[in-house]
Structures are given as C-alpha cells and as structure tokens.
Amino acid sequence: MTYLLVIGTRKGLFTARSEDRRGWEVSGPHRLDAADYASMSAVYAVGINPHSGRVLAGAESSHFGPSVWYSDDRGRTWHEPEAAPIAFPEDTGASLTRAWQFAFGDDPDTVYAGVEPHALFRSSDGGLRFELVRALWDHPHRANWFPGAGGGAVHTILPGILGAGERTPGAVTVAMSTGGVYQTRDDGASWAPANRGISAVFLPDEEPEYGQCVHKVTAAPNGVLYAQNHHGVYRSADPAKEGWTSVETGLPTDFGFAVVAHPHRPETALNFPVVSQEVHLPPDDRLGVYRTEDGGVSWRPFTRGLPEDPYFGIVLRDGACTDGADVPGFYFGTRTGDVYAATDDDGRWHRVAEHLPDVLCVRATEV
C-alpha cells in the first residue's frame, strides 16, 4: 500500500509518499502554474476527494490573488480552471480572499469550500466551479461575525454530520472564526447556530448564542464532535440539543488550533496544545501531542519520537489529519516546517520532512 501526504505551506505545495509510513519520499514545491508564481504562493487548503482521488489545492498569491488548482494524478501535475473556480456573485459586493477548507459529499462531484470572508461554497462538478451557499451568506448573524487574527472564514465543513448517529443526508456542520458552529438540516437552505456551552472569552457575554471563535471541529466515526476553541476544548454528541461539554482536563493548556478524531475509535482523538491567545507557542517550549482514549475525560502525552529539545513551532488548525486507513496514520506539520507521522500500530512519531516553509495544512490518504 502507498500513502500520499499532501502538505500546504506558506511557500508552496509539497507531497510525501511512503509504503510503510515510516520512511517518506518528499517532493516539491510542486509547479502549480506555468509562470510559477502560484508555486510560490501560500497553500491554505488541501482536499483529497475520497471518491475520485482528485486533489484540490487552494492557494493565494499576495500579488495576483487566490485560486484553486486540481490534480488528477495524485499531485504530480496541476491544472487551474480557466474561469475563477470560486468567486462571489456581484450583488454580494464581496471578493474572495482565499479558500480555507475543502470537504466532500457522499457523491464524487459534490465538493464544499469554506472561504474568507466567511462563506461556504459548493461545487457539483468535482471542484472546477463553486457556487455560493446563499442562506449562510444571507444569515442575519453574519453582520456580527468578525475576523480573528488569521482572518474571518469558514474553516470546518462536515457534510452529513450533525452529531452522534447515522450520517444525515442534507446535513452539514460548519465552523467559523469568529461566528462558531452552524448547522443545516436542509441541504443549506437554512442554518442555525449550535454553540451552547462554548465560551467566548473576548465577549462581554462569555456564552453567547453565536460569535465564538471555534478553531476546528472534528467528527468521530460515530458522529460525536470534538472542538478546539479559542480557549476551551469541547465534545458534543448533539450540539443543537445538548450543547457542548468541556473536555480539557489533562491538557496542559485549553488553547490550540488543531484537533483530529480517530477514524475508527469514537473515544480517541488527538490535540495539539498551544499556550494562550497571546503566546502562541508550544507548552514548555516542547513539541507535544496529546491523545485521549476516553472521549476527552483524560488526555495523555503522545510524544514518542518527537524532538526533546526546545521547540517553538505550533500546529495550525489544518496542520493535522488522519489518512483514515484501517490502521490509521496521523500526521501533523508545524509552523517551523517539520512534518511527522504516526500509525496506531506503532505508537511513535516518525519525521516525514524538516525545514519546509511554515506548514499551513496537511491531508493524507491511502493510494
């Protein structure tokens, strides 16, 4: 079996391939466009379509703006649609800053894109052209969503997921910074906030209906959700009805960006703690990953194989992922350009790459 890891960085797109997920062959930065300016761009979003294998990369050139590139040969060659794949309709008065997230529906052609400014787009042709999901854009709360330090965007999209239980056709959970968690049950026609229990330490009302700065939400295989918030780590089996429960006991800090659920064990997830909104450094200046195997009741360090020297690079919200394999692999990259992989049957981290540009996102799959 071959495994593909796609790495989006502040300066271009890299890939890594491995047969055993111990040793990795890294290549890149890949050439996205003929002139190469996009190859030097920041790649904020990567998605691998589980149905078709198509890889999408959302990159932003500081000069020439954002776009979406795709590869149908697992990252070796890249193409860009002639028309802008994601563009705000004229009447919105908005323009795309960048794509932050791709997610895939139950059919091969449905692709979602979360973007900045706060909006959700949907494609019905595999990601060549996206259309704005109007009801979320027109939501009366939008006027009160504002950008955090990284910008204001929809950064989490979970198609078919509302909470514990079977996948629900027409359901989507999204999360945004700021704004919080919203859910639709009618294929995007209406949206409701689902943030009860999540704190907003930067607002006078610390538990508002919406407005939280949720950094990332991940879904366990049974639909239970874990959320890393702007201070606070939470779990919910049904955000709309039951709200969220704090599960940060045992973590060295309640702040962070990334959280990744195990693809097969509902009680297992990884967290990547960061010291506070002001500091943004790893706790104790050490690269650390924490793992729960009891649904967040407790967390233990999962650091075997990681550097023991002082370390100052953190993991951003899309800088960690799983490949979803039967024996799953987990991956993360840091802002100091190191990438690590671990598998469930090994229990230690292996370095995939070092000295890359700041890692913004990673996505992995079995090929």
Binding site: H63, G65, E82, F88
Partner: protein, 94 residues
C-alpha cells in the same frame, strides 16, 4: 485608438506568452475599458489583475505611461491613443 499593454513575466503565461499586447479600443475609453478589452482576448488574465468586483488587486499596480492609475482616477484613468499601459506587481510577497 490603439494602446499597448505591457505584462510582467509572471502573467505572460495567461496571455499566450505575450509581453506586449496591442489593444484596439474606442476613443475616450478609460483604463478599465482597456482591461475589459484585454479580458476578451485573454479571459484568464483579468482575474490576476482585478478581483470579481472589478477592483484592482491590492498589490498590482497599473501605470498609464508614467502615472500609477490610483493617483489618476483608478480604472477611470484616461488613456490616450498610443499610450503604454504597464501592469506591474507591487511591493508585496514574502
């Protein structure tokens, strides 16, 4: 009237490799109209220069002869017959 649009190396791939593109427009056409004419010829080029609102991207500068357009009316800047329109990446990147 006829003007010449000069493209930076990074954008020439979007114009079939052309560095200098002659554009024919009606007399009195402003800069925005010149870019519109350029778009008809090279549909993929315009979105590097302008966003979907039609606004110039923040770090793209467009000069009409020696004048950066933002100081001369932006996309409404006047263009004369024989003008040189230069598209240049501004101070950004990193």
């Amino acid at each position: 009237m006829r003007v010449t649009v000069h493209l930076p190396g990074l954008l020439r791939a979007d114009a079939d490799g052309a560095a200098h593109v002659p554009v024919e427009v009606e007399d009195g056409t402003a800069l925005g109209g010149v870019l519109d004419a350029l778009t008809v010829r090279y549909p993929g080029l315009d979105r590097r220069i302008r966003d979907e609102r039609g606004q110039l991207r923040r770090y793209v500068n467009v000069f009409v002869d020696e004048d950066e357009c933002r100081g001369a009316g932006g996309l409404s800047a006047p263009v004369h017959d024989g003008a040189d329109v230069r598209v240049l990446p501004s101070v950004a990147g990193g």
